[in-house]
């Protein structure tokens, strides 16, 4: 008898709870933080020699790398990050810009950067990529001798407009394969990006 009473009470509660969830339904798709591990962005040359090689292109909507000439948002090669918007910056083997992508670097944690300041967005231009290259100028610090480590600067969040006008934010965690806790520039393979990102799939929405 008692068991039946309890069971019916439980059933009642479940019904109530499911009802309230239904009422709250929203037309927007939820934003979620995603982790990309070991995105390989190789280059040829370097260390004083001319740098060349295909860029590794990435699409936020699919969360995957792509070889598409048009459906990419950002592209990696070595420490360089390009956006699919603007003009070619003038380096070797650069992909053509076909979209309206743009970027800026915000200060904060991935969670604390909650909206896009569209006035800060820049596209790539000749000699001036939206994400600046060089130690301390963009997303990383090159430690120089003796460690020669490339370390992403803490508190730098890369904010992007995608090629098709949506927004994403991204925090680079590591430049070394398998994101080691104590990287060694001589032992660990580099040009392997690990990053967290949040993609806002709802067009025109500038908050995450």
């Amino acid at each position: 008898m008692k068991t039946i009473k309890i069971l019916s009470l439980i059933a009642l509660f479940i019904t109530v709870i499911s009802c309230s969830t239904d009422d709250d339904s929203t037309p927007n798709i939820e934003v979620e933080s995603q982790l990309i591990e070991n995105l390989n962005a190789p280059q040829e040359g370097g260390q004083g020699n001319p740098i060349s090689g295909e860029f590794t292109k990435f699409n936020f909507a699919t969360g995957q790398t792509t070889v598409s000439e048009t459906d990419w948002d950002i592209a990696f090669r070595g420490t360089i990050i390009l956006v699919n918007g603007g003009e070619i910056t003038g380096i070797e083997d650069e992909p053509n810009r076909t979209g309206e992508a743009a970027a800026y670097i915000a200060s904060g944690t991935l969670a604390s950067v909650t909206s896009v300041d569209t006035s800060l967005l820049n596209q790539d231009f000749e000699n001036s990529p939206a994400i600046l290259t060089g130690s301390g100028a963009g997303w990383y610090i090159y430690a120089g001798p003796p460690t020669h480590l490339i370390t992403p600067i803490a508190g730098k969040v890369l904010v992007f407009k995608t090629h098709d006008g949506k927004y994403a934010k991204l925090e680079i965690l590591s430049y070394y394969k398998d994101a080691p806790a104590s990287p060694d520039a001589f032992a660990d393979l580099d040009k392997y990006y690990t990053f967290n990102y949040v993609y806002q799939p709802n067009g025109g929405v500038t908050i995450f």
Partner: protein, 686 residues
């Protein structure tokens, strides 16, 4: 204003040259108290000085069996040697880097700071009478480099007759140190010669990496000094020093190399006392430091090569004027001429810098001492500098006195910061001296490089790094055997010269140059205590508290702009204001404790010394370019040293000791602590 000052100083010199009124000489009173010359360039009692100063006596150097200058300085309160990438070991004073402490031998400077640091291991202590350490900016007397303070090594003068000693020390790492001192002194004449040879096999803290931590090296130091008293009023001093060092490197993959450095200096000084009130010194000093190094691979292919050749010539005249017993003046007028020939330089630069200084030292009452001083350095390559200083001391009673000083200090931009033109061929970056930037820019633009700075920043002159230093303290002597000293210090340093990216090439490599950027401060507290329990037992201890911070970094932390990661690959989080630790390589706490004990009947003395350094950070480990509480730190450590010396037959002394008794090493972070060192020593006097 400055012109007037120069004119009045010139007038002062002209006046002194013509006013040679003769008066009877009074015999100078020898005082048993410790005296030093560095603080005021006149002979002053240490205890009466209004500046923070310290003397390390020959007695202490001998008791602890020191060999190189770094050994003995590391045991002094607030001083620590810090090694740089170039392999040199410099001294950190009041939290200021080694390039901000002027190192003098008998009052004249050593040169050869190829990367900023003057390697104090170059200096042997075998012929030292005492080491004088003056803390706080002292550019009012010494000009450039005397920003943090001055260390002056006073060499020994011979006793009457012919005498000398031979000292030999052998220790761990096959280290040999041999000194020969010879001296002769007659009524008017004294001459001395000193030879030192030091060699070591070096040591290796990390096995299996193919490199030695310190490769074997050997060096020689030759010094001669000659003094002649023409009369009671006139005397001549001539000294010469020659130092040569050779080190061979062996690296993996058959790479091998050698570095050679040679240094000489000549110092001539003619003193003349015109009257009881007037004396003058004519001084000529020249020194050259030459270093050459190369690295070859196993096929004799030259991998890299470098040379450094610096010359300093300095004539100077100095005069003292004592109008009465209560006050004295010292003034000087001189000329620094410096040249440098160095690899990776666009030109062979030349510096010319006349200077003039004046200091007034007065005792208006028996209890008050005031020092006012100023110096003007006119420079050909950077902004001329006016360096004032004021200091005062008040004796409250026999037991207690207080003192304070405020001074300006500066360090001239070095040749590298002005003329460097260096491209690293493996990584591809370029470093340009400040004066090279404007002329190199058209070429960079032609290459397609992006200029990242406003070029107007590079049109003026690079400013010397400069500081205003404050020292306030007191001495309390409750009883004759007990002394407490306290000193609070603050150094406000600005226009620190740092590298910044001035352009980025199309291949992503950067071009750097130097600019006046940072403002930092160092502040803290130094306490020294000594207790002479009897003639045979003495305790001493010292402590320094230090906060050394970058002002912009402090602001950035305060406004929440700084983030950190727990490890290099974890997400970042925001840091709070008190998470900022400060500058690299600074320990919050440093302390030392020493016990000296003499057993008279056995003619034996022994001592135990301990030095402590608290944790410090060497570089940022969590990706925010600042040192914060979440970075990896080098752990604090204590070093214990023990020495014992016994005299036999009056002229022979045997010594034995262990440095770093508990064999402390930190192979990853500290390259200049080699582990436990045993040694034996013999000294023969004749």
């Amino acid at each position: 204003m400055r012109k007037i000052l120069i004119q009045s100083l010139l007038l002062f010199f002209i006046t002194f040259t013509y006013s040679q009124e003769q008066k009877k000489d009074s015999t100078s009173v020898e005082n048993l108290e410790e005296v030093l010359v560095t603080a005021t360039r006149t002979i002053r009692q240490l205890s009466s000085l209004p500046l923070p100063a310290q003397i390390v006596s020959k007695k202490e150097i001998e008791a602890v069996n020191s060999v190189r200058l770094s050994d003995i300085l590391n045991e002094q309160t607030g001083l620590v040697t810090v090694s740089d990438f170039g392999g040199g070991e410099g001294i950190q004073m009041q939290g200021l880097d080694s390039q901000y402490t002027l190192i003098l031998i008998d009052g004249v400077p050593l040169v050869g700071r190829s990367a900023g640091t003057l390697d104090i291991n170059r200096i042997t202590v075998g012929n030292i009478k005492q080491i004088e350490i003056v803390k706080g900016a002292s550019s009012s007397l010494y000009g450039s480099e005397a920003l943090g303070g001055v260390i002056n090594i006073i060499t020994e003068n011979p006793k009457f007759g012919l005498n000398g000693n031979v000292n030999y020390r052998y220790g761990t790492n096959n280290s040999h140190d041999i000194d020969v001192n010879l001296g002769y002194r007659k009524d008017k004449f004294s001459v001395s010669a000193f030879i030192n040879r030091y060699s070591t096999d070096g040591y290796d803290l990390i096995d299996g990496d193919g490199y030695n931590t310190v490769d074997p090296f050997s060096n020689y130091t030759f010094t001669t000094k000659l003094k002649y008293n023409f009369s009671e009023k006139t005397n001549l001093f001539i000294s010469g020093r020659y130092f040569t060092e050779n080190q061979e490197y062996a690296a993996p993959d058959g790479l091998n190399g050698e570095s050679d450095s040679k240094e000489w200096n000549t110092h001539i000084k003619l003193n003349h006392r015109y009257s009881e009130k007037w004396s003058s010194y004519f001084e000529f000093y020249a020194t050259r430091y030459k270093a050459e190094e190369f690295l070859k691979d196993s096929d004799d292919f030259l991998f890299s090569e470098g040379n450094f050749d610096q010359l300093l010539v300095r004539p100077e005249i100095r005069a003292t004027y004592n109008p009465n017993e209560k006050s004295s003046f010292i003034g000087g007028l001189g000329w620094n001429h410096e040249t440098l020939d160095r690899t990776d330089f666009s030109t062979n630069p030349e510096f010319n810098s006349p200077f003039v200084y004046l200091q007034y030292d007065a005792n208006p009452t028996e209890k008050i001492n005031v020092i006012l001083g100023a110096r003007y350095d006119l420079h050909s390559e950077y902004k001329s500098q006016f360096s004032p200083k004021v200091a005062g001391r008040y004796e409250i009673n026999d037991k207690l006195s207080v003192k304070g000083s405020v001074g300006y200090g500066f360090k001239a931009p070095d040749f590298r910061q002005l003329y460097f033109d260096f491209t690293n061929s493996t990584v591809g970056y370029t470093v340009l001296g400040f004066n090279q930037v404007i002329s190199s820019v058209p070429e960079l633009i032609e290459e397609g490089a992006t200029i990242r700075v406003s070029l107007s920043d590079y049109e003026g002159e690079l400013l010397p790094e400069n500081s205003v230093s404050f020292n306030f303290g007191g001495v309390y002597k409750p009883i004759a055997e007990l002394t407490f000293e306290i000193n609070l210090f603050r150094n406000n340093i600005q226009d620190l010269i740092e590298t910044q990216v001035i352009a980025t090439r199309t291949n992503g490599t950067n071009v750097f140059s130097y600019h006046n950027i940072s403002k930092v401060y160092t502040q803290g507290l130094e306490i020294n205590a000594s207790w002479k329990l009897s003639n045979y037992l003495k305790f001493s201890g010292g402590y320094q508290l230090l906060y050394a911070k970058d002002k912009d970094a402090e602001k950035a932390f305060k406004s929440g702009e700084i983030f950190a990661r727990l490890n290099p690959s974890s997400p970042s989080f925001q840091l709070k204001e008190d998470d900022y630790f400060g500058l690299y390589n600074r320990s919050r706490h440093m302390a030392n404790a020493k016990v000296f004990y003499t057993i008279e009947p056995w003619k034996l003395n022994t001592n135990i010394r301990a030095t402590y350094r608290s944790k410090y950070g060497l570089f940022d480990t969590n990706g925010n370019e600042y040192l914060d509480e979440y970075d990896d730190f080098v752990d604090g450590y204590v070093l214990f040293n023990w020495a014992v010396n016994k005299t036999i037959y009056n002229n022979y002394e045997l010594g034995f000791g262990i440095d770093n008794i508990f064999d402390f090493t930190d192979s990853e972070n500290i390259s200049n602590i080699s582990g436990r060192l045993f040694y034996g020593r013999i000294n023969i006097k004749f």
